[in-house]
């Protein structure tokens, strides 16, 4: 089966930052979460896919080269960028009249029904919208031509939990409507991704540290909290990273059930994606 998006050996060099040898895929019908701290390379990766920046390496979208078939591919993409939109000086009504000129498949009725559902005013200038309203309008605009792939850069950043939840619900509905649709979503709010992502790609300082199914991360990964003497009993090959805290050691493992059995441990804590991320960034490995 063709993946929705494939990145092979993608690199981009800036004077102060390098995106190095990025390889990952967004399978059809899946939601892939791209996580990492600010400046890790999430937006650069998204810009690479969209051909907004020139890169080294190969990217295919729906099986087509992202440069050669750019226009064709973009008919099938819905994009939400955190800091960029058509214009702040237009109304939601004007956005409809403009966007229908770009997309063959623009669904005017659907656009207006979403605006009504999410209480987005038709005649108010976008610059006067709240952050939540702006983001909802961007998402509505991105999905109203029924794209096969949604690419979202930090869509929930800076929003309150209620709006974030509404937005995540929009993504779930979008995927449920057609199971061949895919989403690539970048965020540093990992709790949002725990709720909706099927795969997590963790990018750190321009490199991918892991690319795993969310279920594997949440079910198989574990944190052992132990004293120093107990920590030294754990074989180096049995853990990924450890952190030396004030009173104890915290150890991240990726096969918690086997480790629990092997070392006869009573409990191993279930980590959040944020905790796993912190182990990879701040933790140590001997």
């Amino acid at each position: 089966m063709t993946n929705a998006i494939d990145l092979k050996k993608v690199s981009k060099y800036y004077p102060d930052f390098k995106l190095q040898n990025i390889n990952f895929s967004v399978p059809k019908g899946a939601i892939v979460g791209l996580i990492g701290e600010n400046g890790a390379g999430k937006t650069t990766t998204i810009k690479s896919i969209l051909n907004i920046i020139k890169i080294e390496g190969n990217i295919t979208v729906l099986g087509k080269d992202h440069k050669d078939k750019e226009k064709e591919i973009k008919q099938e993409l819905g994009v939400v960028l955190d800091d960029s939109f058509l214009s702040e000086y237009l109304t939601a009504k004007a956005i409809n009249s403009i966007m229908k000129k770009f997309y063959h498949n623009w669904k005017e009725d659907q656009y207006y029904s979403y605006l009504k559902k999410f209480k987005i005013p038709l005649h108010k200038l976008i610059k006067d919208f709240s952050s939540g309203m702006k983001m909802k309008l961007k998402i509505i605009t991105a999905i109203s031509h029924q794209p096969q792939i949604l690419i979202l850069d930090e869509p929930t950043s800076g929003l309150d939990p209620i709006v974030r939840n509404e937005i995540l619900e929009m993504f779930r509905t979008y995927i449920l409507e057609d199971e061949t649709r895919s989403i690539l979503i970048s965020s540093h709010i990992t709790t949002d991704l725990e709720q909706i992502a099927d795969y997590i790609v963790f990018i750190h300082e321009g490199k991918i540290l892991f690319d795993l199914p969310t279920s594997q991360l949440l079910e198989n990964y574990g944190i052992i909290k132990c004293k120093e003497q107990d920590f030294h009993m754990i074989e180096k090959n049995d853990y990924l990273h450890y952190k030396k805290e004030k009173y104890q050691y915290e150890v991240l493992v990726d096969n918690k059930y086997e480790i629990q059995k092997k070392y006869k441990l009573k409990t191993i804590d279930k980590p959040t994606i944020e905790e796993i991320m912190l182990f990879y960034v701040k933790g140590e490995k001997e």
Binding site: K47, K54, K74, S84, F85, S87
Partner: protein, 223 residues
């Protein structure tokens, strides 16, 4: 591309009051001075400059990045800006000519003893000369904006214009110093004979060169 032009026109809708005031002032100017050249030049100039302010709207909304996610080629994005720029001076010039003709006829109706005659050929050449000036500014400014952004691009444009003016002054100084005589009448008759063609071809050339430079800059640019 139609979508981009529509976006720019909708962004510019906020200028409608400015344009109305401009038309009123031009009308007063024509009636007051009985000059038949003022309106086309002023209106083409202002509309031509307003068209360039769409770059400022794009910059303040950081729209360039989003526009590049739409099903458009970079060539279409650049072309849309030139269509708007060229369209604005043509519409401005034509509107100025029409306003001049209407107002002059109006003055002639209410004051039949002292008729104002319009030399249509001269009106067209004057309008074209005005349009040429704006075309020159647009041709320099659009690539500058693509290269340096709307704010910095404007500064670069003023520097370039300053250099052009200095060069023209330098040439005229050179002519005067070495005794070359330029007869105004000769220039006028030359312009009357070939002016429309020369100015039109020069404008076309300027826009073509400018378009190629803009496209080259934009096609290589990362956002």
């Amino acid at each position: 591309m139609k979508g981009l032009i529509k976006k720019d026109l909708l962004n510019l809708a906020s200028y409608k009051t400015t344009l109305l005031i401009l038309i009123i002032f031009c009308s007063i100017g024509i009636i007051g001075t009985e000059s038949v050249t003022i309106a086309p030049i002023v209106i083409a100039t202002i509309i031509g400059m307003i068209a360039l302010s769409t770059f400022n709207y794009d910059e303040s909304s950081k729209a360039d990045k989003f526009i590049l996610t739409l099903p458009l080629t970079r060539k279409e994005i650049v072309t849309s800006k030139y269509v708007l720029a060229i369209g604005s001076i043509i519409i401005g010039g034509l509107f100025g000519i029409i306003l001049t003709i209407i107002l002059t006829n109006f003055i002639n109706i209410i004051r039949p003893n002292d008729l104002i005659t319009i030399d249509y050929k001269s009106l067209c050449i004057t309008t074209l000369c005005g349009m040429f000036g704006i075309a020159l500014i647009q041709s320099i400014q659009i690539p500058s904006i693509y290269k340096w952004g709307a704010e910095k691009g404007r500064i670069q444009m003023f520097i370039l214009l300053f250099i052009i003016i200095l060069a023209i002054l330098g040439i005229s100084f050179f002519f005067t110093k070495f005794g070359f005589q330029i007869e105004e009448q000769q220039i006028e008759s030359f312009l009357n004979q070939f002016g429309v063609w020369i100015i039109s071809i020069l404008m076309l050339l300027m826009y073509l060169i400018s378009y190629h430079i803009s496209y080259k800059i934009f096609s290589k640019k990362d956002y």
